[in-house]
Structures are given as C-alpha cells and as structure tokens.
Amino acid sequence: MALVSKRLLQRRADRSGPKDYEHLLQVDDVHLSFKGVKAIDGVSFHVDDGELFAIIGPNGAGKTSLFNSINQVYKPQEGDIIWKGDSVMGLKPNKTAELGIARTFQNIALYPHMTVTENMLTGRHVRMESGWLAGSIWLGKAKKEEIENRGIVEDIIDFLEIEQWRKYPVGLLPYGIQKRVELGRALAMDPELLMLDEPVAGMNLEETEDMARFILDVRDELEIAIILVEHDMRLVMDIADRVLVMDFGKQIAVGTPAEVQQNPNVIKAYLGEEVETV
C-alpha cells in the first residue's frame, strides 16, 4: 500500500537487521516516589518490536510518570528500565531520544511559536549533525543536510495530511491538528518506540477516528512499537495487542484487551460497571 512514502519505508527497512536483544523495552520492578507519594510502585512489563501495548488506569495511577521514567525525566528510585538489553537508568533524557524512544504528551507540548515544519524539524534534531557554526555559515554539508531533512519532514506532513498548516505557528492551530503535529514530531525522530499519552483526549469522534487510523498505520506500515496511554476504552480495547492496568502506582493486571476487560479488579478500580455505555 502506498500510504507512506518510500523514504519512510526505507527507514523501516534500515531497522530490520538481526536482533541481539530479548525485548525492545523491558521495565523491571520500577519504583518512583515524590515526597511520600508513591507514583509508581513496582511495575514490570515488556514491549516487543512492532507491538501496540496499552497502559490504562485511574487518574493519578502513575501512567505519565512511567513515561517520564522511561525518558529519564524522572529518576526511579528502584528497578531497572532496559532498552534493547541495556539499562537506560541514569541517562539524560535527550539520550533516550537518541536511542529511539519518541513520545507525545498528555498536555500538548509542541513549541507554540514555531511553525509546523519547524516543530517537525526539531524532531530530526537527533538525526542531524551540523553544529552552530556550520549552520551559521550555511554552506556545504549543513545546507545539504537541512534540505534533505526537510524532505523527510515533508513526507511525514504528507502522511499526516497536514500540508495546509505547514507554515502556521502551531500555537494558532486547532487542538486536533496540534495533536497530529505532535505525533508527526515524534515520528520525525525515526523512533523504534512511540509513547502516546492520551492521544485522543478531548477529541471528537471524527478526530478520534483519524488518530486511530494514524496510530494503526504507524504500527502496521512503519512497524514502530507503540505504548498507548488512553482513557478512551473503545479505542484501547479496539486496537491494543496487550494492556497493562495500573492503580495507585501498582500493576493490577496485564493481558489481552479481552482478558483485562473481564478482570474484576480492573472493573472495580477503573472501568466501572457501566463500561458499555461510556
């Protein structure tokens, strides 16, 4: 299917070599607390290549904190987080990005004063090289690199169908489009793991459908593994391969959507009785 450009597919091909690790990401009994608040209290799970893994749980359960721990913005006091066999603990957050972990945020964290294109180009930061001096002089390699990466970003813009917003500062764009740009910025990083924090919160049905489609495409066409945090149960249960349920920092269930949905603990802590109508 020609949904995604050749260049993007090329990236996928570049990644498909022999693997020398067991799981893409492995979270091992992680504990994190803030001044007495236990945000994460012993969570373990793993994500494999190309998997769509969902994390759900009540508000304040520690889902976002888990993302932040994987990115090393928060430094868990105990446990280990292993990326392709190596621990990421102690790395600076920007290093996790270089490793190939990309992310979107619960409260949109785009750069509001920069245009859509520029926002996406910042995603390319880790995949580019030229320094400030080369950039200032705008000659040779730096120029070539800029133009080349602009091309890659344009592919993603195409993929997400946001051509018409290209030159707008993202701060001025509608909420739904911003969410899409944020996904685009994460994709621009050539990630192997994409962490999505409530990608459809606040979206109407139509936008949710679009986003669901993009998520599935990313997974299917680009074969990027995804961790999805979302309160929209219809979406999670529809598209996730496996689901982890957290409550008060603890992990209360892992399994396929069908298994998790039946789990009485999950129903009690999270879904409530009337799950069908919500």
Partner: protein, 263 residues
C-alpha cells in the same frame, strides 16, 4: 434562570464565531451543549461568564439574562457573585498553589467561613483523591486530579448555575461516571447545570434538555432521549453505525484520504 438570546460574538473584530445562538437553562435543570471542535461552545461559555475581553472577543448582538437581569455587559466578578460558576476548559488550576489554596481561591467571593467550610467538606467527600493530596502543589497533580480540583474549585462558590466545559476530559471511565453522578447530585441540591461536552453519551444521559451546535449555529435541540435516537447524532456523536452496532476503529477506512488524493 439563564436565557441567552440571539447571541453573536466576534473575535479580534473580524472573526464571527457565534452567529445568533439562543440557549435557555431553566431553574433546576441540566442542559447539555454538544458540538464539534471549534463549534463555539467555549465561546458561548465565555460570553455567559464575561471572559471574552481577555480573548479580544466581543458580543456584537443579542443578550444574556440571568434571573431576569441583563448581564451581557457585567464584570465577570459580578456574575460570579450572582451565582454563575464555571469549570474552565483545560483545567486551569493555579499550578504553584497547593490544592487547599486552590480551593480557597475558589471560595474568594464567599466570606462566610462556615459556608466555606461546608463547601470544602463537600468537595473532599466528593473527590477523596483530592483529600489525600491537600497540601500537594497543584501543578504536580496528575491530569485527572487537576480536573477534579477544577470542578471542586467551582463548587466552592456555592453556585446557582454551574457551567462545565468538558469536565470529563482526561478522566478515567470510572471517574467519568462519578463526575456524572456529582453533577446529578449537585443538580438535585438545586443547582442548575450547563454541561458542555464531547462525551455526548454521558451528557445526554443526564440532561433534561440538549443543544447541538455546529460552526456557531444551533442545529438541533430538544429532549435528550430524542436526540439519542437521531440518526445523525448517532453517527457523528456516538459512533454507532446505522445498523446499531458500535463501529470499530480498526475498520475506519482511509477513504477520506483517498478522496483527497483523487481530487
């Protein structure tokens, strides 16, 4: 109680966002206001509560009556004193203040300390999660916790009319049900509610009357039960196929995209 008549709002003196809408919230009722993104729901709320000026918006036509008084041009603080409270879109907690101080700020107009105490207790029982985190800095609460705080803060004002702008955003399913119950509960205490929602199911399930707006115009209004049965509402707001079964996201086609590509 609240009567919005033929309201027109213009942003930046150029962008006409509301094109003559009318809403009525009668005493003691819950009214749901639904609509796609950018339809103008939040703008309607701003007009009612007087916060348009900060956004360079202007009411250019129509008026707003509350309890029979024309409040179209009143200061926001005056309106709050009249009993109109709101839960703003996007939580908007005072991030650098503690949970308690946020609630105290909400009770600003309320000088009767006994009443403040009563409201405070009510909020705490309603959201036990907040009671656990009383002294926490609001900015570090989780998204959902902040949403609870925002709702709690509005309740501190002991309102006659409570307007909620997407209160279920970012809340876990169980909590959405709880919020729904809270709304019903508050309403049963005599507070009228205007509920702005994306979550049509939840809103219509408790409303006494529903409005649906589209690009600045009211396109439909009526009994929620009827609205729930309407084909368009089903298709666009509830995600139910004509056949009656839920659509699956896995089935969503690329057709829109194809269509664009062909043209």
């Amino acid at each position: 109680m609240l009567a919005v008549e033929n309201l027109e709002v213009v942003y930046n003196e150029v962008a006409l966002v509301l094109r003559g809408i009318s809403i009525e919230v009668s005493d003691g009722s819950i009214v749901a206001l639904l609509g796609a993104n950018g339809a103008g729901k939040t703008t309607t709320l701003r007009a009612i509560t007087g916060l348009l000026d900060i956004h360079a918006g202007d009411v250019t036509k129509g008026d707003i009556h509350f309890d029979g008084v024309d409040i179209t041009d009143e200061l926001p603080s005056k309106r709050v004193r009249r009993g109109i409270s709101q839960v703003m879109e996007g939580r908007r907690v005072f991030a650098e203040m503690t949970v308690d101080d946020n609630l105290k700020a909400g009770a600003y107009i309320n000088t009767n300390s006994a009443k403040v105490k009563a409201s405070y207790d009510r909020v705490m029982t309603m959201f036990p999660r907040l009671a656990d985190r009383k002294t926490a800095t609001a900015g570090y609460l989780s998204g959902g916790e902040q949403q609870m705080l925002a709702i709690g803060r509005a309740l501190m004002q002991d309102p006659k009319l409570l307007i909620l702008d997407e209160p279920s955003l970012g809340l876990a399913p169980l909590l959405v049900q709880e919020v729904r119950d809270v709304i019903v509960d508050i309403n049963s205490q005599g507070v009228s509610v205007l509920l702005i929602e994306q979550n049509a199911n939840m809103a219509l399930s408790i409303a006494h009357h529903g409005y649906i707006m589209e690009t600045g115009k009211m396109v439909m209004d009526g009994d929620p039960k009827k609205l729930l049965k309407d084909e368009d509402v089903k298709e666009f707001y509830l995600g139910v196929k004509a056949s009656g079964e839920q659509k699956s996201f896995r089935d969503v086609k690329h057709y829109k995209r194809r269509k664009r590509w062909l043209s």
